[in-house]
């Protein structure tokens, strides 16, 4: 007798059958480009940092898609490492931003250039 779980398990490959891999690559590239836009356009250091996290997540999505389509766990393992490194970078980055805020009470990266001179 076919249980609900069996029908659910059989429907998982349907995603891989109906959505070609190029759609995932396009989605991931669009997310990456939005992240690049955020880094280049914004002046608030925290928002620039969040855009960088968006870029890393686009890469995560692409790697997970490749891993599922090839049935190769190496892609998902790489995603773990990217997440671990991103967490460590967030810790250090926020410490740097807090240190700057203590000194000049603002996190506007355009203002730092003028202060130097």
């Amino acid at each position: 007798m076919e249980t609900k779980t069996d029908r659910f398990m059989q429907s998982i490959p349907e995603i891989i059958r109906t959505i070609p891999l190029t759609h995932y690559i396009l989605l991931s590239s669009a997310l990456f480009a939005i992240g690049v836009l955020g880094v280049l356009t914004r002046r608030n250091a925290l928002i620039v940092f969040m855009a960088i996290e968006l870029m890393l997540n686009a890469v995560n999505l692409l790697l997970a898609a490749f891993s599922s389509y090839f049935s190769d766990p190496a892609g998902q393992i790489f995603v773990f490492f990217i997440m671990a490194v991103a967490a460590a970078e967030v810790a250090v980055g926020l410490a740097i931003i807090v240190m700057i805020y203590r000194n000049i009470q603002t996190i506007d990266i355009g203002l730092l250039n003028k202060l130097r001179n």
Partner: protein, 171 residues
């Protein structure tokens, strides 16, 4: 409802909330949109049968990293920082660069003929915890242990940079 309709809806949500992250004026709104983006990406992981990755994404990214961001934002007095826009020329240049990155990537992918994955080699256990655990602790043990060094550096560095010296103001 077909599965591909789910996919297009979820992708549209992801792209929309990612755009709102970058374009919001208020940083707290950006953080909340980013959390929503992470949830949408976790939904994509479910569709790809990467179930452990979905859970880890929500716990680590939306649960730990975004909470750190919110802590730091709440510590700052943001009323003084709202006017945050570069000159229009810089914004235009940035948009052009990002747009050209997107156009180049899309053009590179347009002409590929990607082979569809065949049913015989498909492994339905691919995203499950046991399978990933077996691979991580046997084949990828060395980078797993070496990430410890990275965490050491991050711990020592963030305490060193973030601690309050004698005489510093405490916000």
């Amino acid at each position: 409802m077909e599965v591909s309709n789910y996919w297009y809806f979820l992708s549209g949500l992801t792209l929309l909330s990612a755009l709102m992250v970058v374009l919001s004026k208020n940083p707290i709104h950006s953080v909340l949109y980013l959390v929503f983006t992470f949830f949408c990406i976790s939904g994509h992981y479910v569709l790809l049968n990467a179930q452990f990755l979905m859970a880890v994404n929500i716990i680590v990214y939306a649960g730990a990293i975004m909470v750190l961001f919110l802590f730091v934002i709440m510590m700052f007095d943001l009323k003084k920082n709202i006017p945050d826009s570069k000159t229009n020329l810089t914004k235009l240049a940035g948009t052009v660069v990002a747009g050209s990155v997107l156009v180049i990537l899309v053009a590179a992918f347009r002409t590929i003929q990607y082979p569809t994955p065949d049913e015989s080699t498909f492994n339905p256990n691919n995203g499950m915890v046991e399978n990933l655990g077996k691979v991580l602790y046997s084949e990828y043990l060395l980078p797993f242990e070496l990430v410890t060094v990275l965490f050491f550096v991050a711990m020592v560095g963030s305490v060193m940079l973030g601690k309050r010296e004698v005489g510093d103001r405490n916000f």
